[in-house]
């Protein structure tokens, strides 16, 4: 069996899967306006989830500041286009570069911490960014926020944004998968499992982790850019700590260590919470669903599926060997 582009996509199964899924699903989604709208928002969340996947699943940095990085990206886009009249797409570069630079600087300080301490440090960082945004009235519109952010060039329909969002996801997955197949990706995997070993291999651990975190922040910034242009309004509540936490949850639920895990988690969890009765008890169902999923699939949905697949293939196999770029995040002592 062969298909065009196999030479490039053959060794990139995740990219192939997501590209095919998007190509098949998008035409269906675009037939219903409400699905189209949801597809854009879910695209933003899925990008944020992917950014958590890169940072936590690969570089081992448990991050709770992705919402803040997205906010920086979003505000950069909003300010550059509304105040300074930047052309579309030019602001995307800034929206990705700014959070990446910040993440790189911060990561150099926090990489030696344990995951939970890192989580706290990034949470504090996110809160500081949120407070700065709220108080920079002249630049960010303060608590009220910025309205009237223009659309991205010719793209001004929800369908256009849905294509843009999922196109960005396919590209991100492609780059992500390439990264993981490179020497850097292999090094990241080594250091996540065993830092001493990584050092012994001559890996500059802090630099590599920081680079991983910076890439993750850049993806989050791109998500913020998309959000700002699509919703056209941005306030401090738009991309706040709650978004950071839910991005983390969705990544873990889907399987943070798997490239497509965060996307699966986002689609599944959002779908699930939408089916449940809302209002006052919304949080109850949300929490209960989270606990049940964690009990049922503690390495994420994809981890559960991979485990089942392994068992089907070799019924007697004990816990499977960990494939380099597919291994889920296991415990760090």
């Amino acid at each position: 069996m062969s298909f065009p582009g196999q030479r490039y996509l053959g060794p990139r199964p995740n990219t192939l899967i997501i590209a095919v899924c998007v190509l098949v699903a998008l035409p269906v989604v675009l037939t219903r306006p409400v699905w189209t709208d949801s597809a854009v928002v879910l695209g933003v969340y899925a990008l944020l989830g992917l950014s958590v996947g890169i940072s936590y699943g690969q570089a081992g940095i448990l991050t709770m500041s992705q919402g803040a990085f997205a906010a920086i990206g979003g505000y950069a886009a909003a300010i550059l286009t509304t105040r300074f009249g930047w052309p579309p797409y030019a602001d995307l570069l800034v929206a990705m570069a700014l959070p990446a630079a910040l993440a790189y600087g911060v990561a150099r300080l926090v990489t030696r911490l344990s995951p939970l301490a890192t989580a706290l440090a990034t949470l504090a960082l996110g809160s500081v960014i949120e407070i700065l945004i709220r108080n920079a009235d002249a630049l960010t519109g303060g608590y009220i926020g910025l309205a009237g952010i223009p659309s991205v060039g010719a793209i001004n329909t929800p369908a256009g944004y849905a294509c843009l969002a999922w196109g960005m996801i396919v590209v991100t997955v492609f780059l992500y998968e390439n990264l993981m197949c490179s020497a850097y990706g292999r090094a990241l995997n080594v250091l996540r499992v065993d830092q001493a070993r990584a050092r012994a291999d001559g890996i500059d651990v802090p630099a590599l982790m920081s680079a991983g975190f910076a890439v993750s922040a850049a993806v989050a910034g791109a998500a913020g850019w998309l959000y700002a242009h699509y919703i056209s309004f941005l306030s401090p509540e738009s991309l706040d700590t709650h978004i950071s936490i839910s991005a983390l949850l969705m990544a873990v639920i889907g399987g943070a260590g798997y490239i497509l895990g965060p996307i699966v988690g986002t689609l599944l969890f959002d779908g699930l919470t939408r089916l449940m009765p809302a209002a006052e008890l919304q949080g109850f169902f949300y929490g209960a669903a989270l606990i049940i999923i964690l009990l049922a699939a503690r390495t994420g949905i994809l981890g559960l599926l991979a485990g089942l697949a392994r068992r089907l293939r070799r019924p007697d196999a004990t816990p499977a060997p960990r494939a380099a770029n597919l291994s889920p995040q296991e415990s760090l002592p």
């Binding site: 409400v34 303060g142 709650h242």
Partner: protein
């Protein structure tokens, strides 16, 4: 023959309905769909839940039928006090349920996020929020957003004028760290001096603060003669009052409408006696006119009136009802609702005061919807 024509008409209507959802409620007398996108969870649930309860109670009382006999279907969605969710919910009720007008979203930021969607899909929003920016004529989506509560600026001016009557000169402000708190403070700093009130110090706290004695101490040290509270989280309000008593900040305290909540009034101790609170009407403690009617409907549903969320929620509902009946016999769409809303004046609503919309006036309610109350014995008593 006749049968087949009918069938063809039905088929054509069905096709038209699919093609142009907003036209689905054709000239026939089918039900009109209204959306309600309200904050039923998250911090804004304080107002979103009473809004929902009152809207449901009134609809039940009306048997979901307007005075003119048009049936209303309500589609209710939670915006979770979050602008993104608000935008999604608005898109959902318009696209999926083909509503012709939407009550909500509950919060200012929710309305600002949903405005462009309402504009694109041509369905008006009836916003129960005070945030000034939602009806700013500079918004591209200005034609599609109507405010059904007095704006924050109107609120601030009324309560500060009351404060100025007491010959106070030096005012301190305590505000909560969000859009509501910050707009209030900014406006008070601009408007205060024009009526002889100088804001000498401001202090603030996030929603989750557990201790406000430091803030109260700072105001006491600044020598303020009166304190103004721009707070809607009742835990912050009662906590500040306790702190003020504790540190010896014994000056008159005035609160904006955010604290006009039953649970706040009933949960405060003796330190709150004499607190002046602005309110939109006063259903929980001193209802008059339409408020009595609304309170009865709520009680019939087993709900206890909480504050003014009920009033602004039903304001939105009654504006929509008036707009529907004003289009007697016509085809009702989002656009026709919008056009009709701009001509509404003096329609029936439960809040006091005269409500009017116009092309260049999307703030329906003004100062006459407001009352000043005083907290006495755990009750907010309306002053003359």
């Amino acid at each position: 023959m006749i049968k087949s024509i009918t069938r063809r008409v039905v088929l054509a209507a069905a096709v038209a309905g699919l093609a142009a959802p907003a036209l689905a409620q054709g000239a026939d007398r089918g039900p009109v769909k209204l959306g309600a996108v309200l904050s039923l969870s998250g911090p804004a649930a304080v107002f979103g839940i009473p809004e929902r309860d009152a809207i449901q109670a009134v609809l039940k009382q009306m048997h979901s039928t307007t005075p003119d006999g048009r049936r209303i279907d309500l589609v209710l969605v939670d915006d979770k006090s979050n602008p993104t969710e608000a935008a999604r919910a608005v898109s959902q009720v318009i696209n999926n349920d083909q509503v012709v007008a939407i009550i909500g979203p509950s919060t200012g930021s929710g309305i600002l996020a949903a405005g462009p969607i309402a504009q694109r899909l041509k369905v008006p929003l009836l916003g129960p929020a005070g945030t000034l920016a939602i009806t700013d004529p500079k918004n591209e989506f200005y034609p599609w957003v109507f405010r059904v509560a007095p704006s924050d600026i109107v609120d601030i001016r009324v309560i500060l004028r009351d404060m100025a009557k007491s010959k106070t000169k030096k005012v301190g402000i305590f505000y909560q760290e969000d859009a509501y708190g910050k707009t209030g403070v900014d406006e008070a700093k601009i408007f205060g001096p024009t009526i002889g009130l100088n804001v000498v110090d401001t202090v603030s706290a996030p929603y989750t603060a557990t201790d406000l004695t430091a803030q109260a101490t700072k105001l006491r040290n600044a020598g303020v003669e009166a304190v103004f509270l721009q707070v809607s989280i009742s835990a912050l309000g009662s906590s500040f009052l306790k702190a003020a008593r504790q540190v010896g900040l014994d000056v008159p305290i005035y609160a904006n409408a955010g604290l006009a909540q039953r649970s706040f009034a009933e949960n405060t101790g003796p330190e709150a006696e004499g607190l002046r609170v602005l309110s939109i009407g006063n259903i929980p403690f001193d209802p008059v006119g339409g408020e009595v009617e609304l309170a009865k409907m709520l009680q019939a549903e087993g709900k206890v009136p909480q504050g003014w969320g009920e009033l602004v929620g039903t304001n939105a509902l009654m504006a929509a009802v008036a707009a529907i009946d004003a289009q007697k016999g016509k085809e009702i769409t989002g656009e026709s609702m919008r056009d009709t809303l701009e001509t509404l004046c003096n329609f029936k609503a439960y809040a006091r005061g005269k409500a009017c919309f116009a092309k260049d006036k999307h703030d329906g309610w003004g100062e006459d919807a407001l009352v000043i109350t005083e907290l006495r014995n755990k009750q907010l008593k309306t002053l003359d």
